[in-house]
């Protein structure tokens, strides 16, 4: 039961946080430094997510060969500017093929 309250609390918290973004007056957002910070925020967020998703399993480092190889292949695909879907497919395929053996 406690778990459900936690779930409900998190749901409400997430929604309020997202709604808050739309309730901020436009004047604040047009302010230069705020705008710059808001633009740079996703860069830090995405970079951190790539690392955590690649090398972490809970609180531990988990260096899984096929997964890292999949990410490396994806990195090459990104560098070669392949379309998004293709990047995803080659990442999954490389990891899956390496696990076959």
């Amino acid at each position: 039961m406690t778990l459900w309250w936690l779930v409900i609390g998190t749901v409400v918290g997430c929604y309020v946080l997202k709604l808050a973004g739309y309730l901020v007056p436009p004047r604040v957002l047009e302010h230069g430094p705020t705008r710059r910070a808001v633009e740079l925020l996703p860069v830090a967020l995405l970079a951190a997510l790539v690392v955590v998703e690649a090398v972490a399993n809970g609180c531990q480092y988990d260096l899984d060969g096929p997964r890292l190889a999949g990410l490396a292949v994806a990195a090459v695909a990104v560098w070669r500017r392949l379309p998004f879907l293709l990047i995803i497919v080659v990442a999954a395929l490389s990891a899956a093929l390496l696990r076959l053996g």
Binding site: Y15, K18, L19, G21, Y22, L23, V24, P26, L29, E30, P33, R36, A37, V38, E39, L40, L41, P42, V43, A44, L45, L46, A47, A48, L49, V50, V51, V52, E53, A54, V55, A56, G58, C59, Q60, Y61, D64, P66, R67, A69, G70, L71, A74, A75, A77, V78, F84, I87, I88, A91, A92, L93, S94, A95, A96, L97, R99
Partner: protein
């Protein structure tokens, strides 16, 4: 906050826009060249994901046991690959972006063993936000 000036929603529609504000709709919206296309991208991505997400969840809940281990299909490699693909255009945008990305990656990697899951990403983002607003 990034989307508000782009979508310019008012009144009760903000309640719906808030529900639709997810990684995917945000990424699709900010990648468009004009505000008009950004609004269209946001609402269509939200709609498509809302329908597909709920349908797929239902299908998964009813039948996922039959598939076995999802990592067999390399799905665990898909997540970081997708985030990397979303990050790429920003890395090409300038040197500050690249420095922030490296900083975020290093901070997150360092925090993995010493903080609960989820904290490394939030802490990396917060630290760099602080650095960006002060610098």
């Amino acid at each position: 906050m990034r989307l508000a000036p782009l979508l310019r929603v008012r009144g009760p529609r903000r309640l719906l826009a808030a529900h639709g504000t997810i990684d995917e709709s945000t990424a699709m919206a900010v990648a468009q060249p004009t505000d008009e296309l950004a609004r269209s991208a946001f609402w269509w991505t939200f709609g498509a994901i809302f329908v597909m997400w709920n349908t797929a969840t239902l299908v998964g809940a009813l039948s996922a046991g039959a598939i076995g281990d999802p990592s067999k299909f390399g799905l665990d490699a898909v997540v970081p690959a997708a985030f990397l693909a979303l990050l790429a255009p920003r890395l090409r945008a300038g040197r500050i972006e690249r420095r922030i990305a490296v900083g975020g990656a290093v901070i997150a990697a360092a925090l993995i063993p010493i903080t609960p899951p989820g904290v490394p990403v939030l802490a990396a983002t917060a630290a760099l936000l602080l650095a960006a607003t002060m610098g």
